[in-house]
Every structure is written in C-alpha cells, then in structure tokens.
Subunit: 125 residues, 2 copies
Amino acid sequence: MAVFTPGQVSEETGFSLDTLRYYERIGLLGNVGRNAAGQRRFTDGDVGWLNMIRCLRDTGMPIAEMLRFAELVRQGDHTIRDRIELLEAHDDGVEQQIATLRRRQGAIQHKIQYYKDVMAIPQGV
Amino acid sequence: MAVFTPGQVSEETGFSLDTLRYYERIGLLGNVGRNAAGQRRFTDGDVGWLNMIRCLRDTGMPIAEMLRFAELVRQGDHTIRDRIELLEAHDDGVEQQIATLRRRQGAIQHKIQYYKDVMAIPQGV
DNA sequence: CTGGCACCTGGAGTGTGCTCCAGGTCAAGA
DNA sequence: TCTTGACCTGGAGCACACTCCAGGTGCCAG
C-alpha cells in the first residue's frame, strides 16, 4: 500500500503544504498517518478524499459544508442517502452557477461586439 | 432624464447601499450626482455601468481589474482597443472557468452515481 | 411639531480561506 | 562532521470584499 509525503500530495492535488495542514487542523482531513519521526504520510484514500475536496472547492462549496460532508462520511454507510442529497443539491447549485456564468458571459461578449462596432465606424472623413 | 435614489438602484442592481457607497469610495463608480441635500442621485448611465460591474463581478473579475477597466473608460474613446483586449481576456477566463466547473461537476455526478450503486446492492441475504 | 424614514459621513469590524513565521527535528549526502 | 532540505508546531497575519456603526441631516405625513 503506497504512502505519500506531504510534498508529493501537494504536487498531486495542487493544495499547498500549508493548506494540507490547515485542512487537517479544521477536521476536513482526519487521521493522517505519521512515520516514526512524526512526519505525515498520506494514503491513497487520503489523496482520493483530497481530490473530492478539490472538486467541491472548485465548484464553490464553502468549507463549512465540506465539513458537514466529511462528518457524514465519518459516520459510516448509513449516511449515504444524506450524502447523495447533499451532493445533488450542490450539483444543482453548480448547474445554476454555470447558467449564470453563461448569461453574464453573453452580456460581456455583447459589450465586446459593441466596442468592435464602435471601432469599425470610419473616423473623420 | 431619469434619476434614481440609492434605494432604487440597490433594488435594481442587487448591490447593497453599503456596496454602492463602497464602490464609489474606491473609484469604481465615479462622480455620482447629488441633490440639494447632498443625497446621491444615480443616472441611467450609472445604472448601466453598475450592471456591467455586476457581470464582471459575477464572472469572478477582481475589483482591482474592474478598476483598471473603469480607468480605461474614464480615459475616453482611444482606449477602446485596450478595453476589448481586457474583456476578451476575461471572456477566455470565463470560458475556462465553465470548462473546469463542468469537469468537476462530472466528477461529483460520478460520485453520486457511485453512492446510488452502493445503495442498490441488496443488504444482508 | 413630532415621528419616522431614507439618506449622509468616516472609520472600524467581519468572514472566509488561507499563508507566513519562528524556532525546532530528522535523515542523507559531501 | 556539517549542511541542506523536507518536514514539524502553534499562533499570528493577510487579502479580499464588503458590512456595520455612531452620530447626524432633510423631508414628509399625521
């Protein structure tokens, strides 16, 4: 079973060393193993969880809600229904985020076109 | 020519009164008119600009960059080429944002499906 | 003439999510 | 043996974008 150093995990997940420690401190990442010298050694499972965190973070989930999700995971299999509910609600939120982004992007593109039209008008005679 | 009170503008644009004042203070919103009593009176132009701000903000543009854009607008028509450049760069960013969001959303949906599959396995005998 | 409301100002405070720092441990290579 | 580099801890600090507050003005309805 492979283990990873903090540096490797940082590299793989894109989280800084400080962020990894921060996530552990606040309980978003529980029970990271240590070697004899007290240094962290991450498992595949930890990395997988961090990749999940990455997805949730990048889609705008606040840390407080990720903590709720982490708590559900910690409580075991009987919370799977709740986890589905939480993720589906978040998925809907992401859908709306994208829709809003598209709408705003349309307005911005419209503005760009407006500027291009202004520039196309012959200046002077 | 229509003018609007702070309350009306807040209502229309979704920015709080404090945010409107804040934007004016930092120079994102220049030269808002006043009535005899010193109260703000916004023009159609102001509201239009705020709607632009809304688009840029909602698509993740930091205030510092909106200030750069505002400065270009203030400098007059010879900066239109720069404005197009700025907005097109931002538009590309939005495109990438959406792409990332979609990728992450895919992973989340995958996780939801995994949970659903787990639940579908008959428990016990 | 008295509320009550919308607004004003300058400045302080807040929430989120990290990020940095000082001072220390440990292991490996020159 | 010495140095370098990755890592450790607890706690302070920071960037961003607001948000709140105290104390005050102006105007209109009752």
